[in-house]
């Protein structure tokens, strides 16, 4: 009898536990004697924060807050508490199914025009692709980031994002909000419509029109109840209707100032709730943005877009712009009175994020503005400012303890709380870098542009993550610059001089043992790049 009761109780406990919450009860913490920067209220020079059950229970000056008896007291003298930082656009943890490529030479001669290929997937949810990794999370904790918006990256309609707290590796427990936004890129399709930027704009417009039509037809039908044919079920339109009709946020990734204008034109025409991401040329169209009042998720990537005059003027001017002009984007927006969040999108690793925040501050962005752009502002944009983005009683206990000003060069984050869970940071641990693949050697490369194909030879030298070498073809031999291999991700730039004229190109792609695949982009557009290793014996 006793045993069976116990078993029942155990079953109930297990069942309820599984459904409602993690079985573990979190300890209550009292952070004492720390300086507190709540962001939305004045700094407390010496204060206390009580964290209970994943939330901030209370906060205040020392002596004014009673330390609960059950609290684990953390002596934080000399440390500063900040809200956990929020990155409002990343592609962390996403594992995408491998893209299928058409087999070359598999030519068909259809007797009819081919139907439009819809390879777009606005219904794709980032949540369903999450594979969180501890090493990545540790890396983000080390620089104070506790919350990330994760968005699918590929395609015009990339899919829908999810907002995660970096509280472990269980996706279900990490979700703060899902889905958050629909993500749209001004990119093109390979070998199918739309294959050009102007085609992409037309395709977006037609898709929005179709969503409006589909939705109004259905409501008309619902009013009449009968007498009209039901429309064919359309999962593509079903997926975008909440964003086009119900005006949930649509994030447009904007690579240059013209993308920003394109997004604003679409927003205006279809009355969308548009967010602009990337936008590192926002300073060039600040007046337009002031009128539009759209949320800006500004990237800390300071590389001038290839279309910009700075890139076109040659390597010297491009580097100068990257160093002197583009880091001033955030301060220019701040001066213009525009509200923006800062993101790391486009950056290779978390360490460049910190470095670039400092550069933006050096270029004139006030430190408090930088902090807001990584805390309360993204929380407001994403509609979670009632629970995130500042240190206030009742909010989620996402908090970091650092030994100085958050963006200080020598500052180190010592403790991170996410959803009230304490993550101690190991001091001076060697930065876990993924072991780079070995790509040194000679490669045969094919560059495929919309105009045709070109064969090239690529010689690569490698020193850890640094990659050097040359690309050569009938038209010349060009040096590979800024080559970085991060895990399997290879990026480099190339200044190709053909008949005395120079063109800047940027490569990014993935390496495998004997193949490198990716995209080369230039002012003229994108080209597909594939290389295979030439075995040593054949060289």
């Amino acid at each position: 009898m006793e045993t069976s009761k116990k078993l029942t109780a155990l079953f109930i406990a297990l069942f309820v536990g599984a459904v409602l919450s993690p079985a573990e009860v979190l300890p209550t913490y009292a952070l004492v004697n720390c300086r507190i920067v709540p962001v939305t209220s004045p700094v407390i020079e010496k204060g206390v924060v009580i964290i209970r059950d994943g939330l901030i229970e209370s906060i205040g000056a020392i002596g004014k807050i009673k330390i609960p008896e059950d609290a684990e007291v953390i002596e934080a003298e000399g440390m500063t508490a900040f809200p956990g930082l929020i990155l409002a656009h990343t592609s962390l943890f996403l594992e995408l199914p491998k893209e299928e490529r058409p087999v070359p030479g598999e030519a068909r001669m259809p007797s009819e025009p081919q139907p439009e290929k819809k390879v777009q997937n606005p219904g794709l949810r980032a949540f369903n692709l999450l594979k969180p990794k501890k090493t990545t999370i540790d890396g983000y904790h080390r620089i104070g980031i506790t919350t990330v918006l994760v968005a699918p990256e590929a395609g015009i309609f990339a899919g829908q994002s999810v907002l995660l707290n970096l509280n472990g590796e269980k996706p279900e427990a990490m979700v703060v909000k899902n889905p958050v936004a629909l993500h749209i890129n001004f990119v093109t399709e390979r070998n199918s419509y739309p294959s050009s930027l102007m085609g992409t704009v037309a395709f977006l417009k037609q898709s929005f029109l179709d969503a409006e039509y589909y939705s109004s037809y259905q409501s008309h039908l619902a009013r009449l109840q009968k007498g009209m044919k039901r429309p064919e079920y359309n999962p593509f339109l079903e997926a975008i209707i909440p964003y086009v009709i119900e005006k949930k946020p649509i994030v447009f990734t904007c690579g240059n100032q013209e993308d920003i204008k394109r997004a604003l034109r679409l927003q205006d025409e279809f009355k969308l709730n548009a967010f602009l991401s990337g936008a590192n040329e926002a300073w060039r169209v600040a007046d337009l943005l002031k009128k539009a009042q759209v949320p800006l998720l500004v990237s800390l990537d300071f590389r001038p877009p290839l279309s910009s005059e700075y890139s076109q003027r040659g390597e010297e001017e491009r580097k100068k712009a990257e160093k002197d002009i583009y880091p001033a984007n955030p301060q220019a927006l701040s001066k213009a009175g525009l509200k923006f969040a800062l993101t790391s999108s486009g950056l290779i690793d978390p360490s460049s994020f910190q470095k670039n925040v400092r550069e933006a501050i050096k270029a004139g962005l006030p430190q408090e503005e930088a902090l807001k752009a990584l805390t309360i502002t993204p929380a407001q944009f994403l509609g979670v400012d009632s629970v995130l983005g500042s240190l206030e009683p009742g909010k989620i206990a996402n908090l970091i303890l650092a030994n100085g000003e958050i963006f200080g060069e020598k500052t180190e984050v010592e403790k991170v709380f996410v959803d009230g869970v304490l993550f101690p940071i190991e001091k001076k641990a060697a930065e876990a870098k993924p072991t780079a693949a070995d790509i040194a050697g000679t490669w045969k490369a094919t560059v495929r542009t919309p105009m045709g194909e070109m064969e090239m030879t690529m010689e690569l030298e490698q020193e850890g993550s640094q990659v050097k070498g040359f690309m050569s073809s009938q038209m010349g031999k060009w040096e590979i610059k800024d080559g970085i291999l991060s895990g399997a991700e290879l990026t480099f730039t190339l200044a190709a001089t053909i008949m005395g004229e120079t063109m800047e190109m940027a490569f990014s792609g993935k390496t495998e043992k004997d193949t490198i695949e990716g995209t080369i982009s230039s002012a003229m557009g994108n080209a597909e790049f594939r290389a295979t290793r030439i075995p040593k014996a054949m060289e």
Binding site: P102, P113, E258, T449, E501, T502
Partner: protein, 444 residues
């Protein structure tokens, strides 16, 4: 596709130019050009005259004009002053030229992809060009909607657009749409149509669809106006592709048709009559001299290369005399660049029309000024030096049709956008700076 072989196309994809960027010398559109030999194109010439531009518009042309206070004066003594050159057919200042994903794409609009930072704008200015009609490529039987731009280098994209110009739609016949997306050219699979008859058929088929689409809308709007419209009445789906073709059929868009052979051009004229749309211009058309009577009768212009032919089979019958011959036979002819290279020497091409076919100086100049202006529907604001027109002006050191001439200064709406002396100085400075730089691919 442009007129070049495959290698050049691939090469062009990567090609850029080393440049110096000259900021616009904005004088608020006020300028007095003094003592130049003025070739107005439409109103004769003045051996020594002045042009006063105020607020971007030509206010006065004559002798001994006094500069109003604060207006910059340019001394053009010994120089030739002509209207800004107009290029009726090019593909510069765009992010992308062809939408190759489908064969019929009139819904795409070049105005969405203006690339105001394209160096070709500067190249164009260096050749005295102030306005271009920049177009969808010729990969599709029906391409996209084109756009007319002023070469305001350094200004935002939207300020380049010429709102007065005709709205035009690109068509293409012959080899380019036929061979587009052939597997050998890097496309995944062969696309319909793959023959000349297919090109004609797909255009007709799509225009029939557009007519049907217009009819559906008409019926709907009529039913809506009726006293008791049925409750189930619902508008047809808005289709941007057919909407664009409907605009063509309503006469709000004009056809600009890439066409090489005389036979297919005549077929296209038949098609325009069958459906009632207007052809503004045939593009390239090396065989134009064979059908001048039809072109004149239909009021269709031609936009051509002057002495470039036999670069492919369908261009084999081209002749350098075509531009002059067609001009003398009453066809409205312009000379085009088709891209960012020829655009800097259109005046040389115009000069060749005097050698091949004996056009007069004025007739030759018209090929790159007032004629393209008429083709683009901007002859009221550009194409000649007349009071009331925009202050778009090019200054040459010698007669613009001389083989030894070069463009010294290019002015758009009274602002100097290209100044050769200033450019040379900047280039010198850049060279000095460049000496300290490491050479690409060289020793470190």
């Amino acid at each position: 596709m442009k007129e070049a072989d495959m290698n050049k196309k691939v090469l062009a994809f990567f090609l850029g130019t080393i440049i110096t960027i000259i900021p616009c010398f904005s004088a608020g559109g006020n300028l007095l050009i003094k003592n130049g030999t003025i070739l107005t194109v439409t109103k004769g010439s003045l051996p020594k005259g002045d042009i006063l531009i105020v607020g971007g518009v030509i206010r006065q042309i004559g002798e001994n004009i006094e500069a109003p206070e604060g207006v910059r004066v340019i001394d053009a003594s010994g120089k030739y002053v002509i209207p800004g050159i107009i290029d009726s057919h090019t593909h510069i200042a765009l992010s992308g030229t062809n939408e190759m994903g489908e064969a019929i794409t009139p819904e795409v609009n070049m105005s969405e992809v203006i690339q105001a930072e394209d160096l070709s704008i500067f190249t164009a200015l260096s050749g005295g060009v102030t306005m271009v009609h920049t177009m969808h490529g010729s990969g599709n039987p029906i391409g996209g909607q084109n756009i007319t731009l002023k070469m305001k280098w350094g200004r935002p994209a939207e300020e380049l657009i010429v709102p007065q110009a005709y709205k035009t739609l690109k068509f293409a016949l012959g080899e380019n749409p036929k061979q587009a997306s052939r597997p050998a050219f890097g496309g995944g699979s062969q696309r319909y149509p793959a023959s000349r008859m297919g090109v004609n058929a797909i255009i007709r088929k799509k225009l029939l669809e557009a007519k049907n689409y217009m009819l559906q809308w008409e019926r709907y709007l009529e039913a809506k106006k009726s006293k008791n419209p049925p409750k189930t009445l619902f508008p047809p789906r808005k289709d941007l592709r057919l909407e664009a073709l409907a605009e063509l059929l309503r006469g709000n868009l004009l056809a600009r048709c890439h066409s090489y052979r005389a036979d297919e051009s005549l077929e296209f004229i038949d098609l325009s009559k069958e459906f009632g749309f207007k052809i503004a211009c045939f593009e390239h058309i090396p065989e134009a001299f064979k059908i001048t009577r039809e072109l004149r009768r239909e009021g269709i212009g031609i936009s051509v290369f002057l002495d470039n032919w036999a670069y492919k089979v369908e261009a084999s019958e081209g002749i350098a005399y075509s531009a002059a011959y067609c001009t003398r036979n009453g066809v409205l002819v312009s000379i085009n660049s088709d891209g960012g290279e020829r655009i800097r020497r259109l005046f040389n091409d115009a000069g060749k029309a005097m050698k091949y076919g004996g056009l007069t100086e004025e007739e030759a100049l018209k090929l790159i000024t007032i004629n393209p202006a008429i083709q683009l529907g901007v002859e009221k604001i550009a194409g000649s030096l007349e009071v009331g027109k925009h202050g778009d002006v090019a200054v040459f050191n010698e007669h613009p049709l001389s083989a030894y001439t070069r463009c010294e200064m290019t002015i758009v709406e009274g602002d100097v956008y290209f100044d050769r002396n200033q450019y040379l100085k900047e280039r010198e400075d850049a060279e000095k700076r460049g000496k300290d730089m490491k050479k690409p691919g060289g020793e470190k």
